[in-house]
Symmetry: C2
């Protein structure tokens, strides 16, 4: 219990997952799925990485799919929260779009292992779980689409195809999880600033 009480949700990865054993198993699963893919990872691999027995894993997660679902749901909820926070701030549509893009990029760069699992292993979810995740993705999509629509209505943006441009904006940010390298030349903040500028150009924002 002491370990769980010391967990700081903001600083410990997956701090929202308790107890500590469940959190450790989930961190191990993210690493294993990101490295080898969901289908190549066994629950035995995950337990081993977390320094536990397979029996200890089954106390917290009945199946490997339950782990993926938990990771995917929390990951999507966080990504949606990032977009909603940016969109809910005051300012012009251009300011809010720039903030949404830069924070979404920082999330995909800073948590690229999680983002890869969340973005590339959707097909491995059960039908019911996939439907739940697709609904979360539609909400993320709606946040960006809403900012674009507002900008078009106010005359600040020029966007002939709002749904297509929304798709492209999110896609550009999501692909950061594929190529981002912590040893690379650019920090998550630098990529976020560059991409915010490129997206404002995509919507022909008056600046």
């Amino acid at each position: 219990m002491a370990a769980a009480e010391e967990t700081d949700c903001e600083n410990v990865p997956w701090g929202e997952v308790t107890p500590e054993a469940a959190r450790k198993l989930l961190v191990a699963a993210v690493e294993a799925f990101a490295e080898r893919g969901y289908h190549a990872t066994t629950t035995r691999d995950i337990a081993g990485r977390a320094g536990m027995s397979p029996a200890a894993l089954y106390i917290h997660y009945k199946t490997k799919e339950e782990l993926l679902h938990r990771i995917s749901r929390i990951g999507h909820e966080r990504a949606l929260e990032v977009l909603e926070t940016a969109s809910g701030r005051g300012g012009t549509p251009g300011e809010r779009l720039a903030e949404a893009v830069s924070s979404f990029v920082r999330w995909h760069a800073g948590r690229h292992d999680t983002a890869r699992v969340v973005q590339y292993e959707l097909d491995a979810l059960s039908d019911e779980h996939r439907a739940e995740i697709v609904a979360l993705r539609r909400r993320s999509d709606a946040v960006v689409r809403g900012i674009l629509r507002e900008g078009v209505e106010s005359g600040e943006f020029d966007v002939p195809d709002v749904p297509g441009t929304t798709l492209a904006v999110l896609s550009l940010c999501i692909d950061v999880a594929r190529w981002f390298n912590v040893q690379g030349r650019r920090t998550p903040e630098e990529v976020g600033a560059l991409y915010a500028d490129l997206v404002l150009r995509m919507v022909s924002a008056r600046r």
Copy 2:
């Protein structure tokens, strides 16, 4: 031999791979890697999908990694060819950039299974093979960077960060392989046209 002779390189997927048994195995490997991931696929799975025995597979490919390397090299060579063809056409930098983006997008949408394997399984290649593929990727990067530089020099484009914008343009096109769905609302041609327009906006092309 009759089957191999009938193979039309333009219309048969992977028509450049001969003999026919080697081509069938490679097609089966692309499907299996795209569906379950490289690490979760065995050479036995691949042989089974192609309707052959594991022993028949070893006649053509010594290891599973040799199959991935072959897929990755041909895939990268094709993608580079698509960009070089577009860039080599006459016209302004804006026309050539639009053609490069729309044809690169059509390739990633039309051959999304291959593109996913080629883009997401780089880490599974041997060091030597990965170095070879990275060199091909640098050449693709150089084609797009070259068009951007020309456009900047002629005053047609306004691009403060040419390497960063090159990365973003390629990344936007590559991610089409993740989300493109043949049952979806947009054809590869429609996505290509939309993305060409968005990229011309990213470089603030005078039109």
